[in-house]
């Protein structure tokens, strides 16, 4: 048989894979400024495996969303994510894995490295059932057990295994100098996940799509829909002579073309001497036998290619639009590290206009030249001691944090300058963030130990209702809670748009003595509190 006939057409599929990876990560600006996209499109999921904490990601990861939904199943039924997965499954099935999964692309590129290859065998076939174990334990059981049973947020697969999270999320965030403090919280979890990622990467070099075949719970979910999905490879019963060459040449652990392991890559279309296999979407043939016995007639092939060119044209237009929109037009595409010079750091624009003029935020790491005039700083009205600061304004250690005011959930107004003379802790948290929720009781305890200090806990703008319900349930009354606003949020101003939890500790002069994205214990908080009391710059 002619080699060209037996070879698949990786060109088209590879281009589609690249296209999907680019489209999922159209927020290229995120890689440049080190921040993630926080717009409303994050409420939607992409079909493939793509970490939503990747700076480029424009939508959410279906598997991460599923774990999060199961975690919260105690109070919100996970209908939305289940519906999304069912929709993707019934329309595309595991065609998603073969054609539009960025992680699949990475695995295939790694497998292109010329080394001896491990072929499929009874062993790999048995191993392919492991992914159902990962799905049952890490994606379903752990989030349900901890979320519903114990009220602890724990997305098992994301936290313990997911190589996409490590590569796209963690490395994607850490690569940017603006996120240097994110390094501080790396420890056991990161080390374990890093090693897992490296091992999976190495396995993919020698064994085709190792992660996809043996580990991927998303592939396992889509596999359930594969037999009746609208899109996928189909065998013409009348033409098939049961030679089995399709399954023998397939690199996945399939027994039959189109079974739960089949990713509809279309390699078998070229290998079938009977011309019995085609890739179809409903009744439309996307790819059929073009040469040999039972090949599609020339006009049909030509028409299909013409339609393909039109589809590519539309797809490219969509990609260009997405890149332009997310990088230049969408306001929530990427939050700035610090506000512009004329930023108003208050949520009371009319009444506070005069005050706002004094609270402009310079670029991060401002020099002495860019320092705020000390005379403009609000003096403390405590004990006659002067707590003014002549440090430059900024969010880095040793800088004077810019003044701001925000409405508290209690209805009062919090103004930072009102607390000169006291240690102030500003904590950024979220109900969807397990370490944040775990450390909040420590802040409550700290405030109980040192009532003279001030603690402000700021929740992300998204999920406000859930946060309020959570706080009502906990009944904490020592901490001041505020919600970030979408338009003039405190999160980007305080350089915390990226990762949670983040804690900023100010000494009585309003100068930053600690600013890091890391969970803290009561013991550490006590040390940091004492440090803030004793430190002057």
């Amino acid at each position: 048989m002619d080699k060209k006939e037996t070879m698949p057409r990786p060109g088209t599929r590879r281009l589609v894979q690249l296209y999907a990876a680019l489209l999922y990560n159209a927020n290229i600006r995120g890689f440049v400024d080190g921040h993630i996209y926080t717009g409303n499109l994050k409420a939607a999921c992409v079909p493939g495996f793509n970490c939503y904490s990747c700076p480029g990601a424009i939508a959410s990861c279906p598997l991460g969303s599923l774990q999060n939904a199961l975690n919260a199943a105690g109070h919100t039924a996970p209908w939305y994510v289940l519906g999304i997965l069912a929709l993707f499954g019934v329309i595309l099935g595991r065609t998603i894995c073969g054609w539009i999964c960025p992680l699949g692309l990475i695995q295939e590129l790694l497998h292109r490295i010329p080394t001896p290859k491990l072929r499929k065998s009874r062993f790999t076939r048995a191993m392919s059932y492991l992914k159902y174990g990962f799905l049952a334990v890490f994606v379903i059981a752990i989030p349900l057990w901890y979320g519903v049973g114990k009220g602890i947020i724990l997305p098992g697969f994301c936290k313990y295994i997911c190589p996409a999270g490590t590569l796209e999320g963690a490395v994607g965030i850490l690569q940017h100098p603006a996120n240097s403090t994110s390094f501080y919280q790396l420890g056991e979890i990161f080390t374990r996940k890093w090693v897992i990622m490296v091992v999976i990467g190495l396995a993919c070099v020698f064994c085709y799509r190792s992660f996809c075949r043996f580990v991927c719970p998303l592939g396992a979910i889509y596999g359930f829909f594969n037999r009746f999905a609208l899109t996928g490879v189909r065998v013409n019963k009348d033409r098939c002579n049961g030679c089995g060459l399709c399954a023998m040449q397939c690199q996945m652990d399939v027994r039959h073309v189109g079974d739960h392991e089949c990713i509809s890559c279309g390699k078998c279309i070229g290998s079938c001497a009977q011309g019995a296999i085609s890739l179809q979407c409903g009744r439309i043939t996307l790819k059929g036998p073009e040469t040999g016995k039972n090949a599609d007639p020339e006009p049909v092939v030509r028409k299909r290619k013409q339609a393909g060119r039109i589809a590519w044209g539309i797809a490219l237009a969509v990609l260009v639009f997405a890149v332009v929109w997310f990088n230049f037009l969408e306001p929530a595409a990427s939050q700035p590290v610090s506000g512009p010079e004329d930023a108003v750091v208050t949520q009371e624009p009319a009444a506070e206009a005069e005050h706002a003029e004094t609270t402009a935020v310079p670029e991060q790491g401002a020099t002495e030249e860019g320092a705020q005039d000390p005379a403009q700083t609000t003096p403390a009205e405590t004990a006659g001691e002067d707590f003014t600061s002549n440090r430059p304004v900024g969010t880095e250690i040793g800088c004077q944090l810019p003044d701001f005011s925000t409405d508290l959930l209690s209805g009062e107004t919090f103004r930072l300058s009102d607390f000169r003379g006291r240690v102030v802790i500003i904590n950024f948290w979220g109900t969807t963030c397990a370490p944040c929720v775990e450390e909040l009781p420590y802040y409550e305890q700290l405030k109980q130990n040192h009532p003279e200090m001030e603690i402000l806990a700021i929740h992300n703008r998204a999920g406000a209702k859930k946060a309020q319900a959570f706080l009502e349930d906990k009944g904490w009354d020592r901490l001041d809670f505020a919600l970030d606003s979408k338009e003039k949020g405190l999160l980007p101003l305080l350089n915390a748009a990226d990762a949670m939890p983040q804690t900023i500790i100010l000494n009585p002069h309003g100068e930053v003595t600690y600013n890091a994205q890391a969970p803290l214990t009561l013991e550490k908080l006590e040390v940091l509190y004492q440090q803030a009391l004793e430190t002057t710059f």
């Binding site: 519906g83 076939r125 089995g244 397990a434």
Partner: protein, 154 residues
């Protein structure tokens, strides 16, 4: 030994060595940090940009060598051709001792169409129910903020 075999062997060793260095570097930083923290330095940061850069420095030349070798190999068409051979283990393909090929349901199969339609309708209902019960907002809340623990940062 054939030149191609030597090349494939060298590439394999290089990949394994790279993986070992990358994994060992992270483990070293973690173990050093854990030891420092056990000594009472609770604010010792195991990983910093400087330490990570230091660990990566010896790996980078190897990565470049591996990339160069890979590019050369791909351009010259060097590969393990056994990977293209059909797997003839009958046990893999169906019932013991036979190739029992089953054709998958066709797009026109009545049962398949009915099942597909039912799932499609159920999916639609689930999505609408999810939007109404706040599930959509939950996905947005999770996606719009990084949970460091979830992505393995800490």
């Amino acid at each position: 030994m054939k030149r191609k075999t030597v090349y494939l062997l060298v590439q394999s060793l290089l990949c394994a060595l790279l993986a070992e260095l990358l994994a060992a570097g992270a483990l070293r930083l973690y173990l050093d940090g854990a030891a420092r923290q056990a000594e009472g330095d609770m604010f010792y940061y195991m990983f910093t940009r400087e330490r990570v850069t230091q660990q990566l420095q010896p790996v980078l030349p190897l990565i470049l060598v591996a990339l160069g070798l890979t590019a050369g190999g791909v351009m010259l068409g060097i590969r393990d051709e056994r990977a293209d051979l059909p797997v003839r283990d009958m046990h893999l393909l169906g019932e013991k001792g036979s190739i029992r090929m089953r054709a998958v349901p066709q797009a026109s199969d009545r049962r398949t169409v009915v099942l597909r339609t039912v799932v499609l309708v159920v999916a639609g209902i689930l999505i609408v129910a999810g939007i109404l019960n706040g599930g959509l907002e939950d996905v947005l809340a999770k996606g719009a903020a990084i949970c460091t623990e979830c992505v393995g940062l800490g």
